[in-house]
Amino acid sequence: MKEILSGNEAIARGAFEAGCRVASAYPGTPSTEILENACTYPEIDASWAPNEKVALEVAIGASFGGARSMACMKHVGVNVAADPLFTLSYTGVGGGLVLVVADDPEMHSSQDEQDSRNYARFAKVPMLEPADSMECKEYTRMAFELSEQFDTPVMLRSCTRISHGKSIVEMGERITGLPEPKLVKNPAKLVMLPGNARVRHPLVEERTVRLSEYGDVSQLNRVEYRQKRIGVICCGVTYQYVREVLPDVSTLKLGMVYPLPKQLIAEFAAQVERLFVVEELDPFIEDQVRALGIAVTGKEIIPLCGELSPGRIRTAFASAGITPPKTASPGATNLALPPRPPNMCPGCPHRGVFYLLNRANAYVTGDIGCYTLGFMPPLNAMDTCVCMGASISNGSGIVRVLPPEEQRRIVAVIGDSTFLHTGVNSLMEMAWNRSPATVLILDNRITAMTGRQENPASGFTLDGEAAPQVSIPDLCRALGIRHVREVDPYDLEATKRALDEEMNRPEPSVVITTRACCLIKGEDRFEKGTMLRVDQDACTGCKACLRIGCPAIEWQPAPEGKKGKAFIDPLLCTGCTVCLQLCKFNAIGRAV
């Protein structure tokens, strides 16, 4: 049977067909849907973890217990999970273990575009990279087999275009006859103390050599000879672009991007007149090919930053005189087109908070989530954003270098899910070392940014079952914060009071704003209010309501000499009342 699947759906399907039993992940674009799809197979115990390190450790535990297991994350998630990954390379596995990492070249939804292939080399583990959905499924299945065959975790690297692209997949059945999980005592392999680890390290090096030799003959790496004047080594989605733009050249498509198949590369290089490596982001393959003493052209013509595309590859090869330059593109309009950046939803519980932070002249150390959009005009209320959980520790560090009168301005802003991901340790530090900053936890009851996934404070698990809920206020108190208060962010007056008081308090304190994300469906977690309208006679055109940047409020300019007025789109307004609280002329009211 054939179906059209996204790369993420196909990876989940591959895990299912491979007999995977346990899957764990923390949501992160573009990897999130892998677990959401794994969860649809009752045979897989799929669950969210509070962060990527925990997710990988859960998978490692299941693997040590003898079951095939998988952990999934976005590229930056591997930074968090790196600690167990490097040791896992030494211990090897019980049941096959696959770590899926989805890179985000071009940073469509990320803070950097690190190239995860470097992790495979750094941790000395093999990495496979599929080029379409069918390969996503097949490579996932093969990754489990390789993992057991070579006693190693296997990384599977995807990217935005593969994870969120769709193509046709031939479905298969779930394999049977895998050994039943059981407890095995093997401390020499699984207890990584210096004495044991010293024995394991040489085994890891030997494994890498054997994997490279396997790559020379494996069907994962595929030579396709066409004309032999030009040969291109490529992998993943880049292979598709090369086939599109340079249909006649010979290709070596690497399905296993680490370790490289040295023999195969040497043979391919000998067969073609001129060798190129076309790869997205780092010169990962190129540098290693060059280290083999093989002449190759790569980043001299292929861009180092950002996503590749057929057009960019065409331009690169045109610059090398290999393809004709592209004919001029038609159709550019000469009208000035205003940009359309993303914005927080109408009624988003974060909006009023950022308005108040702006008015309070706060210096906001920010974090990762929908609320990062609070840095944009007209809110302009975020000053730093580094990585998950960094807001609190950044705030804790920055207050130390400020004179007392400036310290009050420091407010660390973090969402509920990000707080539970890695913010808890940071708050522990802040309480412990008594850094006099204010922490604002925006509790919208969900992991909103990635498309609304449950988290340990939301009361549900991935499969929708009711679950114990972390009490964020109690947790803050337990960490040693003496001043913890909760406010409703739709109540601007109360939120302003809480912020003022806590910002002026010369010790660490936490304000938690509690309101559900407007997009949560079901369970009555988000209650829509009555939509509001602007009384066009009462509106003076003062523009105060525009300062929150709600997409439901539109400025309607008036003809020359007259005042414009604000207008609320009834289809978009959720009735949060934040704009109503800003209008001094009572021009905003409930629609009748």
Binding site: K166, E244, T327, L546, G549
Partner: protein
Amino acid sequence: MNSQITNILLVGVGGQGILLASEILSEAFMLAGHDVKKSEIHGMSQRGGSVVSHVRFGSQVFSPVVPEGEGDILFGFELLETCRYLPLLRPGASVIANDFRIPPPSVLLGQALYPEGLVESIRSQVSDFLLVDGLKLASEAGNPRAANTVLLGAVSNRLPLPEEIWLRALEKMVPKKALDINIKAFALGRSL
């Protein structure tokens, strides 16, 4: 340039239902026995940002994204966005656009005006340009929310698939209770 492949771009604003429309298109091409690939960006772009989805079909499709300057059909859900992506098209491409405007943030805030003359600008560059009042026709079909399906009907006229395949794709992708209205909306679009 691969003339065996048809390249479709769906463009508009996050939240307009572009992903569902591109799913229906892809499903239809697969049902008709073609190779299909599609690509789009989730995440940040969903929050009211500019969205472009690529759908390609033919005997064998390599790249999941439409090579720049090779788009055959632009399926625009919003006028400003339709204009923004014209440079992705090849000369002689078709544009089917919804006569619908969503103000971007700078316009909402009164710092810019929604550009005038978009329709004329598109018309001056594209010979096969069909402007559709999706909302009005969808209301005639029974629900203004079926505007995308009206547009899809209009797009279907430029694609070599039999009506029966389209209906099967709709049946598979559209929720049961909305199916009748969507079939009507599709037929209205197809009759344009």
